[in-house]
C-alpha cells in the first residue's frame, strides 16, 4: 500500500538534494518531499517546535537522513527521534557518504532502520534512491500509528 506521508529529506548539500529529488521523480514516486537543511531545523519540523510551532508532530512516511549536518548532526537527530515516544517508530534511513565503521556501528546502535552509502557515480546513486523509495514507500509496512 502506498504511504501518503511526505518523505523527509534531511540534507545540507544542495547538489545532493537536487540529484535526490530528480531520482525520486524519475522513479515516479509521487509523495511530497520535505527538505530540511540542518539537524536543528529537522527536529523543529518533526516535533512542531521553533519555526514549526503549532503545526503538531509530523509523521513522514520515511526519513532520509544524512550524517554530516550543520548545527545538529544526523546521529543526534536519530537519537532524539528514537527517544521520543511520538516519533520512535518512524522509519529512518541514513543516507551518507561515510563508510566509516564508527558511523555504521553507531547508527545501528541508535536504532536506524537502514544504512545506505551514497555512491559517487550518479547512476548508482539514482538506482539506490529509487530502490529506497520503492521499498520504503510501497513494499515496507509502516508502523501502525503512522498511517
Amino acid at each position: 500500500m502506498k504511504k501518503d506521508g511526505p518523505i523527509l529529506l534531511v540534507e545540507d548539500n544542495p547538489d545532493d538534494v537536487t540529484l535526490t529529488l530528480r531520482s525520486l521523480k524519475k522513479a515516479n514516486i509521487a509523495n511530497d518531499v520535505v527538505v530540511m537543511r540542518d539537524g536543528a531545523e529537522a527536529l523543529d519540523y518533526l516535533f512542531g517546535t521553533g519555526a514549526y510551532e503549532g503545526r503538531g508532530v509530523a509523521k513522514p512516511a520515511v526519513i532520509l537522513l544524512d550524517i554530516k549536518l550543520p548545527k545538529i548532526n544526523g546521529l543526534e537527530v536519530l537519537a532524539r527521534v528514537r527517544r521520543d515516544e511520538r516519533t520512535r517508530r518512524l522509519p529512518v534511513v541514513i543516507l551518507t557518504s561515510s563508510d566509516e565503521e564508527n558511523d555504521l556501528a553507531r547508527s545501528y546502535e541508535l536504532g536506524v532502520n537502514s544504512y545506505v552509502r551514497k555512491p559517487v557515480e550518479f547512476e548508482e546513486f539514482s538506482k539506490a534512491v529509487t530502490q529506497l523509495g520503492l521499498y520504503w514507500l510501497l513494499l515496507n509496512e509502516s508502523p501502525p500509528d503512522a498511517r
Binding site: 537536487t18 557518504s97 561515510s98 550518479f122
Partner: protein
C-alpha cells in the same frame, strides 16, 4: 709491606716478646722462689743450731742419757740440713762450708765430752784432770755452738738479703717488661692506625661520597698492600659505575625521546583518522555532484549536444569516477597502515578461491583458468592478507583481459630457504627495467587507456607485506606474463608510520 705480612711479623714479634716476657718472669720468680727456699733452709739451720745449743745446755746440765740421744738426733738432722745442696752463691758457699766444718767439729767435741764423761764416771781415782778436760770441752762446745749460731744467723741474713735482691730484680724486670709491653702495644697501635684504620677511613669516605652521587670521585693510590688493592678495586668500580650511569642516563634520555616520538606518532595517527573521516564525507560529495550533473546534462539536454559535447561530458564523468576510485584506494591504504594487526592463521588457498569466484561472477564471459594450490596456510592478519590477494589476483585478472584466454596461478614455494607465495598470470606483463617503480604509489607502468587503475593497489599490498615483516617482488617480461612473489616474516610490525 702487605698487611698480611705485617700481621705475621707482628704476631711473631708479639709471640717472641711474650715468650721473652714469660720466660724472664718465670726465671725471675723461680729465682725468688729459690732464694725463699734457701732462706727457709737457712732459717731451719739457724733453728736447728739454736735447738742444738739448747740441747747441749740440757745435756751438760745432768749428762742424761736421754739428752745425749736427743743431741745426737738433732746433730744428725742438722747435718742433713747442712748437706743440702744449693747454697752455691759466691757469698754463701764459704759460710756453709764453715758451718759444715763447725758442725763436724761440734760433733767431735760432743763425742769427746760424752766419752770423757763416761771415763769420769768409770774412773774411781782423782778426776780433777778429767773434770778440767770436761770444763775445757764444755767451753769448746759452748763456744762452737755460739759460733755456729752466729754463722747460721749470718747465713740467714745473707739469704734474706738474697731474697730481697731477687725480689727487687723481679720488680725491676716487671717494670721494664711492662714498659716494653706498653711500647710494643703503642707501636702495634700506631702501625694499625696508619696502615689500616686511616686507609679504611679514606675508603669509608670514598664510599660515602660515591654513594652520595658524586661518581667522579676517586680514592687514588693507597699503598701496595691489600687495602691499596681495595682502593684500586673501588676506583675501578667507581669508573664502571660512572660509565654505566652515563650510559643509563643516555638510555633514559633515549627512552624519553622514544616516548616523545611515540606520542608524536599517536598524534599523527589521530590526525590521520580525522583526516580520513573528513575525506569519507567531504571529498565524495562534490564528486557525486560532478558525476550527477554531467549525467543530468546528458539526459536532459541530449538534443542540444553534439557527439563532441557528449564526449566532453563523458570525460567529466570519467574523471570524477576515477577520482572516486583514487579516494577509495587511498583510504584503504591509509586504513591498512593504521590498522591493528590481528595475528592468526589464514588459509590463503581458500581466500584465493573465494576472490577468483567473485571475479568470475562479475565477468562470467571471460575465459580464465585458475590454478590454485590447495592447503596453503600462512600466519598473519587475515583481513589484510585478503586485501593482498585481492590486489594481486585483481591485477592478474585485469592484465589477462586483453587475451582471449588467460591462466592465473596461486601457490607456495621457497625462496632463500624461507616460505614464499606467488600469483602468476600469462597476461600483459611489464618491462623489468621499471621494476623498482612497481610498488610505489601512483606509479603505473601502463597507460590508463590500456588498463584502468590508480597505481595504489600494489603499494597497498606492499605496505601490508611490509607490516608482516615480509618481502614482495615481481618477475615479468612484456607480453609474457607476470609472477608476483611475497614472503611473510615471523614478526609483525605494529602500528606503523603515517601514509
Amino acid at each position: 709491606m702487605r698487611i698480611r705480612t705485617l700481621i705475621t711479623v707482628g704476631t711473631v714479634i708479639w709471640v717472641a716478646f711474650g715468650t721473652a716476657v714469660g720466660g724472664s718472669l718465670y726465671i725471675t720468680f723461680r729465682d725468688v722462689d729459690e732464694a725463699l727456699r734457701k732462706n727457709e733452709v737457712a732459717r731451719d739451720i739457724a733453728q736447728g743450731v739454736f735447738e742444738l745449743t739448747v740441747l747441749t745446755g740440757d745435756y751438760l746440765l745432768y749428762y742424761e742419757e736421754r739428752a745425749q740421744t736427743q743431741w745426737k738426733r738433732k746433730h744428725e738432722s742438722l747435718g742433713r740440713l747442712l748437706a743440702e745442696p744449693g747454697f752455691r752463691g759466691v757469698e754463701e758457699e764459704p759460710l756453709i762450708t764453715v758451718l759444715r766444718a763447725h758442725h763436724v767439729e761440734i760433733g767431735r767435741i760432743f763425742g769427746e765430752v760424752v766419752a770423757n764423761r763416761q771415763t769420769v764416771q768409770a774412773q774411781e781415782g782423782p778426776t780433777d784432770f778429767l773434770l778440767e778436760l770436761q770444763q775445757r770441752l764444755m767451753a769448746q762446745l759452748l763456744i762452737k755452738s755460739q759460733t755456729m749460731e752466729t754463722g747460721a744467723i749470718g747465713l740467714g741474713s745473707k739469704s734474706i738479703a738474697e731474697v730481697r735482691d731477687a725480689e727487687r730484680q723481679a720488680g725491676w724486670l716487671v717494670i721494664v717488661l711492662g714498659a716494653s709491653v706498653v711500647i710494643v702495644m703503642a707501636g702495634t697501635w700506631i702501625v694499625v692506625a696508619t696502615r689500616v684504620v686511616r686507609p679504611i677511613g679514606k675508603l669509608q669516605r670514598g664510599i660515602q661520597i660515591l654513594g652520595g652521587g658524586d661518581l667522579d670521585y676517586r680514592i687514588g693510590p693507597l699503598g701496595k698492600d691489600e687495602i691499596g688493592e681495595v682502593a684500586r678495586s673501588f676506583d675501578e668500580m667507581a669508573e664502571q659505575l660512572s660509565t654505566t650511569t652515563v650510559s643509563r642516563n643516555e638510555l633514559a634520555k633515549e627512552v624519553t625521546e622514544r616516548e616523545r616520538a611515540e606520542e608524536a606518532l599517536r598524534g599523527a595517527n589521530a590526525e590521520l583518522e580525522a583526516f580520513s573521516y573528513s575525506v569519507s564525507h567531504d571529498l565524495r560529495a562534490p564528486l557525486r555532484a560532478m558525476d550527477g550533473f554531467s549525467q543530468v546534462l546528458l539526459e536532459d539536454y541530449a538534443d542540444n549536444l553534439d557527439a563532441e559535447g557528449r564526449d566532453h561530458l563523458g570525460r567529466v564523468r570519467g574523471a570524477s569516477q576515477h577520482m572516486a576510485q583514487l579516494i577509495e584506494d587511498l583510504l584503504e591504504l591509509s586504513r591498512v597502515t593504521r590498522a591493528e594487526l590481528r595475528h592468526g592463521k589464514s588459509n590463503l588457498s581458500e581466500l584465493a578461491q573465494a576472490i577468483s569466484a567473485e571475479f568470475r561472477k562479475a565477468e562470467p564471459d571471460r575465459q580464465v583458468t585458475f590454478d590454485i594450490a590447495p592447503g596453503v596456510i600462512a600466519e598473519g592478519d587475515e583481513r589484510l592478507l585478503r586485501i593482498v590477494l585481492e590486489n594481486l589476483l585483481g591485477n592478474a585478472w585485469k592484465f589477462t583481459s586483453k587475451h582471449p584466454q588467460g591462466k592465473i596461478e596461486f601457490g607456495a614455494t621457497t625462496h632463500d630457504g624461507k616460505p614464499a607465495y606467488y600469483v602468476r598470470d600469462d597476461g600483459a606483463g611489464f618491462d623489468m627495467a621499471y621494476a623498482d617503480k612497481l610498488f610505489k604509489p601512483f606509479q603505473r607502468l601502463h597507460k590508463t587507456g590500456e588498463f584502468p587503475g590508480t597505481g595504489i593497489g600494489l603499494a597497498t599490498a606492499a605496505r601490508i607485506i611490509q607490516r608482516h615483516g615480509g618481502r614482495i617482488w615481481a618477475e615479468s617480461a612484456v607480453e609474457q606474463g607476470t609472477t608476483v612473489y611475497f614472503s611473510l616474516g615471523t614478526k609483525l610490525v605494529t602500528k606503523g608510520e603515517a601514509v
